[in-house]
């Protein structure tokens, strides 16, 4: 007597991983954004870079270092923690807050460029704008991101974009940086294999 075989469970295929930016490409992208900042701000006078943790903070320092290498000017760099300004605080367990470091020059009357790794829904940037307005009154605010992956939920756009990556909502973009993760890379994870 032959019994029908029970269906073998299909092995779950690991999510596909695609490298979007290698270490060398990422360095070139940072260089380009640094040049664009210099161009668009006519030499970056009166400009302050504020990185949004976690990975916006080292990116802001890198941009400032490249601008210094190109033009020999020092741009003040700071860190803007947005935890307490998030709109989803109550949907998660309580989050530890990180440091906010405002350069001694402050932000009043300055052109502030917010720096983050990935621009997605835009909610992080909205929180950053709220946090910034509690620190002072910048003359203008711009946004620089390494990757724009689309799917905005708020009317927010970036002034400087390292790379536009069309993504599906199910995919995720992982940015790793030497300072925080040991190596520079941008990967697209998930979606169709």
């Amino acid at each position: 007597m032959a019994y029908p075989q029970a269906a073998q469970p299909q092995p779950v295929s690991p999510p596909s991983v695609k490298v979007i930016l290698t270490s060398a490409e990422l360095a070139r992208v940072v260089d380009r954004i640094a040049h664009q900042i210099l161009e668009k701000t006519q030499g970056a006078a009166g400009t302050v870079l504020l990185g949004i943790p976690t990975r916006g903070a080292p990116l802001a320092r890198r941009l400032a270092a490249r601008i210094n290498a190109f033009e020999g000017i020092d741009i003040p760099v700071g860190v803007l923690d947005i935890t307490l300004y998030r709109d989803d605080l109550r949907r998660h367990a309580v989050r530890a807050i990180g440091p906010t470091q405002v350069p001694p020059e402050g932000v009043d009357g300055k052109r502030v460029i917010l720096v983050d790794d990935v621009l997605f829904s835009g909610r992080t940037v909205r929180a950053a704008l709220d946090a910034l307005s509690d620190l002072g009154r910048p003359s203008s605010v711009q946004l620089a991101v390494l990757v724009d992956r689309g799917h905005r939920e708020l009317p927010i756009r970036a002034d400087y974009v390292g790379k536009n990556i069309p993504t599906a909502l199910a995919e995720s973009v992982r940015v790793t940086l030497a300072e925080t993760d040991g190596a520079d890379e941008v990967r697209l994870i998930g979606g169709a294999a």
């Binding site: 307490l84 605080l89 309580v94 989050r95």
Partner: protein, 307 residues
């Protein structure tokens, strides 16, 4: 994270350190143009005070307001309590008004623990009887870390009326968790037998302040509760000041880096001489400022996330 903060023993080393780190970030808000954060918008904090208090109540109120919470102050005087309402009925009233947190000070030891069983929100003990005052211990630990750079390994002398002091109890518990060595100093009548081993093993007891001072990194003077003097715990105020008061010559016996703390309100000339209270070693004013930052951190960590 915890739901309530009732005792210094509720905190393990990681949680206590998280609170102190969060408080350090909260402290930067005090120097900003807009001294306000939106983290607790729409949350209601009730200050339920059955005992007189200035600094603790104002400190909790300032902390809650800086986090954008709505604050309702309730003091037993002039309320339904004077008409005979019980703690439980008052608690249920506050519950019905939608309090997300109740900050309670009560003359009965253990009242906040009872309250925590009756209300759905968080309960913060702001001092209960002669039992505990955990946010005071946290702000003291914060002050030590800010001045001396660490807590682990510090020698801390807690001097005075340990018997009636909730500040001392919470400090012994928290400092032991954070790795400091505590010595309780005072007249034998004011130090319960075996209190050290009962609260935290490793705590020492001494009846001789002068012997303890040269090896102390921190001296924490407790308030002599004048209302208890009729109970003859010591012969006279002058004798107490002579043996256990911190004056200039005694302060000179301390190591150069040592700091002098006091939870306030102080009796100048009794447990602490004016020249000590106003010296650069004294952290008394810093303790008040740090209290707001520490209470902001506690309120945020208790109420900031998902219910």
């Amino acid at each position: 994270m915890l739901k309530h903060l009732l005792s210094g023993a509720d905190l393990d080393a990681d949680t206590a350190t998280l609170i102190l780190d969060t408080a350090a970030e909260m402290a930067t808000v005090a120097g900003r143009e807009v001294k306000k954060l939106p983290a607790l918008r729409g949350r209601t904090v009730v200050n339920l005070f059955y005992e007189d208090s200035t600094r603790t109540r104002i400190s909790f109120e300032a902390a809650a307001k800086r986090l954008s919470a709505d604050v309702i102050n309730f003091s037993a005087k002039g309320s339904s309590v004077s008409k005979g309402e019980s703690l439980k009925d008052t608690a249920l009233t506050l519950q019905a008004m939608g309090a997300d947190a109740v900050v309670v000070r009560h003359p009965a030891s253990g009242a906040p623990h009872r309250l925590a069983n009756w209300v759905e929100g968080s309960v913060l003990n702001a001092g209960d009887g002669t039992h505990e005052h955990p946010t005071q211990a946290l702000l003291d630990a914060y002050t030590m870390r800010a001045r001396l750079g660490r807590i682990a390994g510090l020698s801390v002398a807690v001097v005075g009326d340990v018997l009636h002091s909730r500040v001392a109890r919470s400090n012994v518990l928290l400092l032991a968790t954070l790795g400091a060595k505590v010595t309780l100093v005072g007249p034998p009548t004011l130090i319960p037998v075996d209190i050290g081993t009962a609260l935290a093993p490793g705590t020492e007891v001494s009846y001789d302040l002068d012997a303890v001072l040269p090896t102390s990194d921190v001296v924490m003077m407790l308030r002599v509760q004048r209302e208890r003097m009729a109970d003859s715990y010591f012969p006279s105020a002058r004798e107490y000041a002579r043996r256990y008061g911190l004056d200039g010559p005694r302060m000179a016996r301390l190591p150069d880096h040592a700091i002098v703390m006091h939870p306030g309100p102080m009796n100048r000339g009794m447990e602490i001489a004016p020249e000590v209270a106003d010296s650069s070693r004294s952290t008394i004013v810093e303790q008040v400022a740090n209290g707001v930052s520490v209470r902001m951190a506690v309120l945020y960590l208790l109420l900031g996330g998902m219910k």
